[in-house]
Symmetry: C2
Subunit: 381 residues, 2 copies
Amino acid sequence: MSQDDHILLIPGPICVSEAVREAQSIQSLSHTSPAFISIFQSALKDLRKLFKSTNEKDQGVVVAGSGTLGWDITASNLVYPGDNVLVLSTGFFSDSFADCLRVYGANVDVITAPVGDSVAISEVEKALASKKYSVITVTHVDTSTAVVSDIEAVAATAKKISPETLIVVDGVCSVGVENIEFTKWGLDYVLSASQKAIGVPSGLSVGFLSERAIKRALERPVQSSFFASLQRWLPNLINFEAGKPSYFATPAIQTVNALRVSLKEILEGGLDARFQKNKEVSQKFKKDLADLGISIVPVKPEVAASGLTAAYFPEGIDGAKFIASVYQKGVIVAGGIHKDLVGKYFRVGHMGVSALDPKLGHIDAAVRAIKEALEEQGFKK
Amino acid sequence: MSQDDHILLIPGPICVSEAVREAQSIQSLSHTSPAFISIFQSALKDLRKLFKSTNEKDQGVVVAGSGTLGWDITASNLVYPGDNVLVLSTGFFSDSFADCLRVYGANVDVITAPVGDSVAISEVEKALASKKYSVITVTHVDTSTAVVSDIEAVAATAKKISPETLIVVDGVCSVGVENIEFTKWGLDYVLSASQKAIGVPSGLSVGFLSERAIKRALERPVQSSFFASLQRWLPNLINFEAGKPSYFATPAIQTVNALRVSLKEILEGGLDARFQKNKEVSQKFKKDLADLGISIVPVKPEVAASGLTAAYFPEGIDGAKFIASVYQKGVIVAGGIHKDLVGKYFRVGHMGVSALDPKLGHIDAAVRAIKEALEEQGFKK
């Protein structure tokens, strides 16, 4: 068994387009060949557009790995051992990021939002005023709660109260589906992964660094990592983007090619139109759930993410049975992983082609399957 | 430009089989689905066979990344800060491994072999007797020199003189083409990558750990890495191999599937027959070069690797022009990267389908292109 004909609607990995699949299947290329340099250069240039960067000294980061590797990149390059780091937690992934920061010697303070909500800006202000933080991290969309944080407001707060604090955004479940204005908002590092709204097979850590984040990484006197070291990667990435061969470690040739193709697809219709369209799909889906008597984890519309929905099983519904029944009807949704809510909710991803190509009928199929699965358990609104 | 119709004969990435390409192009799967668990389980089980492991407490390691990540895995799990590590260097990659070990706080002693040779066992004996080393590292085949080290002899020496020293083998350019008897020789960690003789697209760190290496990693009181931490990966890998869903970081779904398919292909004809066949192809190729008046970098047949050939440009040949001319004739070979020899030699990979499927005609094409490129520069033996 190596294929699955069910519709994959978990919050990543997501279904990729046929063009991306084709790009993923090219024969191997030399990692220093003109053919591959041109591929990697295109992807790195298009990342600037994806992040709406207007400072040419910013730099895209594409490294074989996963979203998690972006935490190591943060912790071992932008934070010095003993530094204070403020983590805004909206769920499982924010807390794991904090764990990673501690491994590399950071003193971490965590502000935990109420489940289903984001951290209040007043809390951020208070914390930043109380202590010198070298980095603040915020999970743009925590995949465990489907809560979106207002990273523009967080960044503005940090700039006002503690301008030298670097602003790091975990954008694993947001890049490609939520608006990010990297330069305008003054972000320093957004880390992400290939397999969610970027629409590529899993296998890449994809991120974007500001000029001042690069400066901090390059000035670092002592390295805390090797594979995650920006001092080692930056010359490589800069060379590739300039069209020059370079070597630190072998890139994931095929997946970088898939990234190139997906970025073209993402950018061709205009980013804002894409975000708006995905938001509409998300709102429609959430309304369909509400009509079925299902309420969502985010406590108010402003904190509900566009790329996925986390929703409670209605009273009396057996969650495991429900997910299995939805699967039998051809649709794969995910269980919940937030420690306070395990077993009480499920998650549905609506990113990439599944959300934006209505011909595929993925979201309609999900609504139908969910409706029938509820009915099977005798649930009535 | 995203394809290249030239024959790729660098020492990795190598050409992959059509079945592997197809496996690489499957639609994304949930990383915790039965479909993917079955894929990953198959790959992890077959890794045991590839390494000829007979201890079920050994464990295969497959993580999205590259060969380089295996160095971080060694340095941040098997070595404690302040530990002594003995590095046997046969070229560029051995030296880079030493750099990585130092980043994580190891005290590294390097024994450097003469260019084109491996480190003498007497040197290894002397060093191991002089100091307590927690780890010895040996690069099985250094891709910069095409020298193969006798890892069986190194392991036997370590066991005799310093039995508690862990034996780590960099098998990036050897696993899948050189014989490795993991259990019999008493190795502790062999690190490799997907894109060389394992015959898979780049993007995976692939390795194998002994029971005592696992013990050392699990007993470690303080972690030095997060993404490279075996305390975090081992439960995940053990679960997947047991057919159970697990999560630490999202695996590279498609590339793991390609690994599954390639391992089946590698194992189906018998490992020893495969190694023998590749050795014959290698010896024939080296003889063809000798007939053309080209001598190889390894100083004696016993240290010449089977998976690639590093060969000097004959006197009077312009190396850059030669490689460009070979390229024009449809074959991609690589320049040299050993610091003492840059510009003086070239490298040809002969691994995987390129070496073992004579119908492809890759090696014949290489010999022809090399012959003609020499003639173009007026070279006569």
